[in-house]
Amino acid sequence: MIRWLRPFVFPALLLAALEIWARTVGAGSDAVAPPSAALRAFAAALVDGSLLAATAFTLGSAALGLLVGGGLGVAMGTLLGLSPRASRLGFVSVELLRPVPSVALIPLAMLVFGFGLRMEISVVAFACLWPMAMLTQAAAQQVEPRLLEVARALQMNAWQRFAWIVGPAMVPRLFVALRLGVAIALVVAVTVEIAANPNGMGYAMMIAQQSLDPALMLAWLLWIGVVGFAINAAATWVQQRVARRMGEGRP
């Protein structure tokens, strides 16, 4: 029982300290609010629907961006991983494009798409594209050589080799890439909203700060933390389940 409670003691102490501080020294501050007030603000946002609408927008655009960027990334990574010639020819271009920070594309996306869903999706997609491509490439290159020998012995053609041997062998690693992609997509989606896009959770938090409502701002910060934690935990769970089902770790 005590062991089970242990992870919650430290955050509880922090919140209690903040509560006391915000009610005494920092009373009337525009910057911090007591957590109890944040909880009330959270309940109000939940009731009037703004919480769910903003959360749905952020998660929806993160998911669509991941779908676009991850899909392209997996296709590109598979090509680069299976064809040494393609990976050598693309080497310089990939290495030059990859380090461009995704947030640098926010102004460009703004110019092309204006504000809204498409702009956010495009930035998230660019951010997910490179890590997914690199991990997919590694996955394709690290297929067990003995499996490829089997394919050769069975005289499979290129398509059969991919569909029956290489593709399935890549799946566990693809889910590792997906886990990373999920984390990146969420972070970038919130960042785009904070920096520019007037939609979603990031913007709601920005507006709460600008309208000097620290309780609502704190509520959003905690909520973004909870959502991020839950989604990352779910992605890790799925990845580990797939790894076990696909027999990773067994000799």
Partner: protein
């Protein structure tokens, strides 16, 4: 890449890059994509040259690089320090560890509104958020490395009657070096991203602010020049760190 590229392969690789640039040239000149969004390569180059020669873009680049490096160093010091504190004590790991795991996936930029409320729209605010955001991979790497010390080495430390501080300094941190270096590489990427976002929101001088203003004024060639410079910063910092990583960790592969 497991082996070095031959000169022939490098030439082929550069040819692909040239083909991509030619495609860009064709797309902008033939009007496939509106010039409002996609400037010609020459215009981008001209903006880049003009901005760097006249000093404005050069100054912004220096400001962004300075912010990124300062935040990165702060993140490194704070991450290794806190990581050593948490990692060297089983009690601290049990009580504080889960909280750290909870905060880790939090987007660094989500802390920015809170930081604005506390510090105002200042350069110090941006620096604080950069350091905070970039600290996590270093902190968790340090903890991971300290926890992974081989039990035999712990026995050696006990036999030599090393205190906790000495154990961390002489055995723990060298053992955690690969994790710390990997964390520092990730921290550099985060530093650049958060610096740019901070410059956009808080209107601090730098490339982030420059590209946002260029986009608002529909000056696409200046926008592209800024993106090219940010890509160059990312490329150079990444390459330098990869080099440093190989040097620092050479003792591990005798």
């Amino acid at each position: 890449m497991n082996r070095r590229l031959t000169p022939m392969e490098i030439a082929g690789s550069l040819a692909v890059l040239a083909a991509l640039l030619a495609l860009w040239w064709l797309a902008s000149h033939a009007g496939w994509v509106s010039k409002v969004f996609l400037p010609t390569p020459e215009a981008t180059l001209a903006s880049l040259h003009e901005g760097l020669a006249a000093g404005e873009l050069a100054g912004f680049t220096a400001a962004t690089v300075g912010r990124m490096l300062a935040g990165w160093v702060l993140a490194g010091v704070a991450g290794v320090g806190l990581g050593a504190l948490v990692g060297s004590s089983a009690a601290a790991r049990a009580w504080v560890g889960p909280t750290l795991e909870f905060i880790r996936p939090l987007p660094a930029s989500a802390v920015m509104p809170l930081a604005i409320a506390i510090f105002g729209l200042s350069g110090g605010m941006v620096l604080a958020v950069v350091a905070f955001g970039a600290m996590w991979p270093v902190l968790l790497g340090t903890v991971h490395g300290l926890v992974g010390v081989h039990p035999r080495l712990r026995e050696v430390a006990a036999a030599l009657q090393l205190g906790r501080g000495e154990f961390v300094w002489k055995i723990g941190l060298p053992n955690a070096m690969p994790d710390i270096v990997a964390g520092m590489r990730l921290a550099m990427t985060i530093s650049l991203i958060v610096s740019v976002v901070g410059e956009m929101i808080a209107s601090q001088p730098g490339l982030g602010q420059a590209i946002l203003l260029a986009a608002r004024a529909f000056r696409a060639s200046e926008l592209f020049a800024g993106i090219v410079l940010l890509g160059a910063i990312g490329f150079v910092s990444n390459a330098l760190l990869a080099l440093a990583e190989r040097r620092l960790l050479r003792w591990q592969h005798p």
